[in-house]
Amino acid sequence: MKETPKKTSGVFLAILALLILLPFFLSKAYLHLAVIIGVHAILALSLGMVVGFVGQLSLCHAGFYGIGAYTSALLTFSHWPFWLALPAAGIISGLFGLLIGLPALKTRGIYFAITTLSFGVIMNIMLNNWVSLTNGPDGLSGLALPDPIPLWAKTSISFNTPRNYYFLVGVLLLFTIFVCRRLLNSRVGRAFRGVRDNEVLAECLGIRALRYKLTAFTIGAIFAGLAGSLYAHYLRYICPRDFSFAESFDLLVMVVVGGAQTILGPIVGALFILALPKFFGFEPVYGRVAFGIILVVVMIYMPRGIVGSFQKGFPSPKGGAHGPS
């Protein structure tokens, strides 16, 4: 696997160019799908930070997605501009991530899975029952679009078309990928990987496991919150059902099937899980049956996921190892 850096950059730029040109050729329906896939790619990457980076199975991630969505919706109802509500949604979700992660991450393995599951269920129950805040099961409608970005000469980028929203989502997805890459290849990322692969050894080498698990969990929550805000102001309607355990499950399928320990994996997973039903004209119900079975099959035969099965260990940093000088 000796690709020169130039070759991978080339491929990456080509794909980027393709994705930039794509919306001009897609029908409205496919463009809509692309936006939804983009949002879920961010969401899947954010779950990947927890599942992949520190190796813990979190089953409440849709809850952070929901908190981001509702925070953003309620703030814009209070006349906050979207461009402030977006980061606020991330921050509030991150705060919840910190609050929930602190107790939850003291547990491990299945206990952690069940704890997060419990938190997720509680979050969903609250969304459904705190009617004065969230309007309960009926949800919130009439959400504002992002405010237009003013450009030169009295023109501006408005977001009432899927195409411009596509670019907005794209920019945020690139940002998410950028953050993931930078994190993974840094001292922080090494701590994550150490904790995931051998927590006892990592602790003996001076790595505070709980701190890093909490960091990954919180950052994952922040990006889930950002995705929630994007989702809310695109569909302009949200309800608790969008953020239930079924959604957490879908995200898990995306991450696991794509490959939890990679950056490309969750994105491929999101694409696969969302595009498949549409291409074959499935109802979501049939899709879910398929995902369940796919998950079982992948876990038995390809536990590292599609992309993960090609990765053979984390490479040294680029500047490293030129032999003895």
Partner: protein, 288 residues
């Protein structure tokens, strides 16, 4: 007057608790021998309820034979799932098994949805309407039967585990699979049996709950979540923990719903779980 309400709540709690105990029992048995949190167990509960429903509504069988046959069918399904989905991941990290269980959970729920739609159906039962009042506690005969039948099945399971050869084999495998294998115990057969028995229990629980709370594809989610709460609190793999934990949860929930809040009653179990795990991250009696 106050005492009467309290007794009523406790009685209701014991009824619901017996359901939790049955589901948790199956779950803890599976965990004890496979160390896998079998999420899909909740769907066996649902399928058992549906099987009973169809036998009663379509073929007019009486509810007891329907439940019995449903238990058998569900046991078979449990054994099939063990063979094709759980056995291959038995030696993999336990998280893989959990993910497999999640996959099955979602697949089965949606298959039920495709086949039978999402409507809530009432399982007709001759016992659902008549009531008995004793010591100022009023219960429908159905509820009373739920409690009685659950106790009976739990007792039968206890005898099975303690007194039969297979029961001893199950306990041996739960304690130390390697040693059990070396002693010649057929691990595969033990595994299959545990799945069969657990699934049958879940099916019975679903069948009995049907006339009270309706039958529908997503009926398995909350009970399985609560069963997990029960076994984490009572000790994963512990049979007495599952039984007593189930009853305690049922009563606590009933009292909470009556005296604190009814909408948030489902949240109590989960809040209790979180509190306990914060203090003891491997459960009250856990040892992992």
């Amino acid at each position: 007057m106050e005492a009467a309400i309290l007794l009523q709540q406790v009685a209701n709690g014991l009824v619901i608790g017996s359901i939790y105990a049955m589901v948790a029992l199956g779950l803890t048995l599976i965990f004890g021998i496979l160390h896998i949190g079998n999420f899909a167990h909740g769907q066996l509960y649902m399928l058992g309820a549906f099987a009973t429903y169809w036998l009663v509504s379509l073929w007019g069988w009486n509810i007891w034979s329907s439940m019995f046959v449903a238990m058998g069918l569900t046991a078979l399904l449990g054994m099939v799932l063990e063979r094709i989905a759980f056995r291959p991941v038995r030696s993999a990290p336990h998280i893989n098994g959990l993910i497999v269980a999640l996959g099955l959970f979602i697949a089965l729920e949606n298959i039920a949805f495709i086949l039978w739609g999402g409507d809530e159906r009432t399982l007709p039962s001759p016992y659902a309407t008549k009531m008995i009042t004793l010591l100022s506690i009023s219960l429908t005969i159905q509820r009373l039967l739920v409690f009685a039948v659950s106790i009976l099945l739990i007792f039968l399971l206890y005898l099975f585990i303690q007194k039969t050869k297979m029961g001893k084999a199950i306990r041996a495998v739960a304690q130390d699979p390697e040693v059990a294998r070396l002693m010649g115990i057929p691990i595969h057969r033990v595994s299959s049996t545990v799945f069969a028995v657990s699934s049958a229990l879940a099916a019975a629980a679903g069948a009995m709950v049907g006339p009270i709370f309706c039958v529908f594809p997503s009926m398995g989610l909350i009970p399985i979540l609560k069963a997990f709460v029960v076994i984490v609190l009572g000790g994963m793999g512990s049979i007495p923990g599952a039984i007593f934990g189930g009853f305690i949860l049922g009563v606590a929930e009933s009292l909470g719903a009556g005296y604190i809040s009814s909408e948030y009653k489902d949240a109590f179990a989960f809040a209790a779980l979180i509190l306990v795990l914060m203090v003891r991250p491997t459960g009250l009696f856990g040892k992992e």
